[in-house]
């Protein structure tokens, strides 16, 4: 469950975004520059909006009127960045354990489950630089999950992957949704990713919400318009 409202001014974009959603996976859909990643950054605390209120799972993370701005490290969100951002000096195992160790959690059962789910066992001793794009994103997703987040934030996790890797990571994300049920916000400009993963879609355009649709409405609209062939 998320309540989100923010106003913020960049040099090239005025953001005025508000929405509320109680579904398991929410997609933020729009063109590049629509403000999607800024919304994720605001949820994670990496961007402090000029004004707004962000409530995640009943916990107020940011409220400009009340002067609340929970520190990034305390927000308990698992952020999967577009480029993975694995720590280059740590192997995959140490990357996976980074969040858990930061929070003082030592749960081998979780580690084993996530590693099995994302099929990361063969990668554990590898350096991030030696991973393919798809492997890197799987490791980044595992690392975010093992920090035991209240919400998983996925910033275009399939961008830059070739067709086969993209399909693979998409399958893993479907499996995660089915088996773990972590509240997820997915940023994407690919309609097929929305169709495959989301329950509800917030459409963003030019820094504003252009609509909020259930997944089926979104799919019907896209198919009806012939705009995007769905996977």
């Amino acid at each position: 469950m998320i309540e989100f409202a923010m106003r913020h001014a960049f040099t090239d974009l005025e953001l005025d975004v508000s929405f509320r959603a109680g579904v398991r996976t929410l997609a933020l859909f729009g063109d590049s520059g629509a403000g999607k990643t800024s919304v994720l950054n605001a949820i994670a605390g990496l961007l402090a909006p000029r004004a707004g209120r962000i409530v995640l799972d009943g916990r107020v993370l940011f409220d400009s009127d009340e002067g609340i701005d929970v520190a990034v490290a305390e927000r308990r969100v698992g952020y999967v960045f577009q480029d993975g951002r694995l720590f280059p000096h740590l192997d995959v195992r140490a990357n996976l354990l980074y969040g858990a160790r930061s929070r003082g959690v030592d749960d081998n059962a979780d580690f084993d489950a996530v590693v099995a789910l994302l099929e990361l066992v063969p990668l554990l001793a590898r350096a991030p630089q030696s991973l393919s794009g798809g492997e890197r994103q799987r490791a980044a997703i595992g690392r975010a999950l093992l920090a035991q987040p209240r919400a998983l934030l996925l910033d275009e996790p399939l961008t830059g992957l070739h067709f086969e890797a993209r399909r693979q990571v998409l399958d893993y994300l479907r499996r995660l949704k089915r088996e773990l049920g972590v509240f997820t916000v997915l940023v994407t400009h690919h309609a097929d990713e929305v169709a495959a993963l989301a329950d509800e879609v917030v459409l963003l355009a030019g820094g504003e919400v252009a609509g909020q649709l259930a997944r089926d409405e979104f799919v019907a609209g896209r198919v009806g318009s012939g705009a995007v062939p769905l996977a």
């Binding site: 605390g45 990034v72 952020y79 951002r85 694995l86 720590f87 000096h89 350096a127 630089q129 975010a144």
Partner: protein, 239 residues
């Protein structure tokens, strides 16, 4: 080599090595902190701090030594205060360490700061979202990814400290066995009749140490000793 160098030569060499190493060890924690602040923080007076940092590089070393004497000498207020606790720097080998540390400090900080600047801050942001507080981010991300620059800075500061002359002789003078470092010993030998063989010996030693330090810096700055990590040099984007 024991027979080649006299007991006094050895004394000067060992003292210089000790002064050089200790000056780096003592200034490293302060250098790390200042380099981090200059790399990551914007604050009023930052330009003034940077200008002060450069001073030992620009001022004649003798002036720096005199400033240390004026600050830490037995008749200076701070020197008198420290002397009450039994801490005396003027005309002691510990003072030579202070002089060497001050002279090497700008090189140490500039090198470490450049290393911190080259760490992709998006990795630090990623660590923050994973629950890492400021100290953990510094210790587990910033520091390991800057090790090469930190090591290079240490070598440069050591080399500067090893060759230090002007500030040292002004602050702690030339006391055999106490403050007569290698450069001071060479200078003294230049001024005594029949001192040239000693000058040649010690100069050769200084050249060998300088070559070793330069080779270390080159090795450290290159990829020979370190795993290449291209992600650390990625261009910074908005967090």
């Amino acid at each position: 080599m024991t027979g080649w160098l006299s007991a006094q030569d050895w004394q000067a060499l060992v003292l210089s090595l000790r002064v050089g190493l200790l000056s780096v060890v003592l200034s490293l924690p302060v250098g790390l902190a200042l380099a981090w602040v200059l790399s990551r923080k914007r604050f009023p007076g930052r330009i003034l701090v940077e200008a002060l940092l450069f001073l030992p590089l620009i001022l004649p070393p003798v002036v720096t030594g005199y400033a240390l004497l004026a600050l830490l000498g037995r008749n200076a207020p701070l020197g008198r205060l420290l002397a009450e606790f039994g801490i005396v720097f003027a005309f002691r080998w510990t003072g030579a360490v202070i002089a060497a540390a001050v002279m090497g400090f700008p090189l140490l900080v500039l090198s470490i700061r450049a290393a911190f600047d080259s760490v992709d801050q998006r990795l630090e942001a990623a660590a923050e979202t994973l629950g890492a507080g400021a100290w953990r981010r510094f210790a587990t991300i910033t520091l390991p990814l800057s090790l090469r620059g930190i090591a290079a800075g240490c070598v440069l500061a050591f080399a500067r400290a090893f060759g230090e002359f002007g500030a040292t002789i002004s602050f702690v003078s030339n006391i055999p066995g106490e403050t007569r470092t290698l450069p001071i010993a060479i200078y003294e030998l230049l001024n005594v009749p029949g001192g040239m063989p000693g000058v040649n010996r010690l100069s050769l030693v200084a050249v060998l140490v300088a070559i070793a330090a330069a080779a270390s810096a080159t090795l450290i700055a290159g990829d020979a000793l370190w795993r290449r990590s291209p992600d650390t040099h990625a261009t910074r984007a908005r967090r």
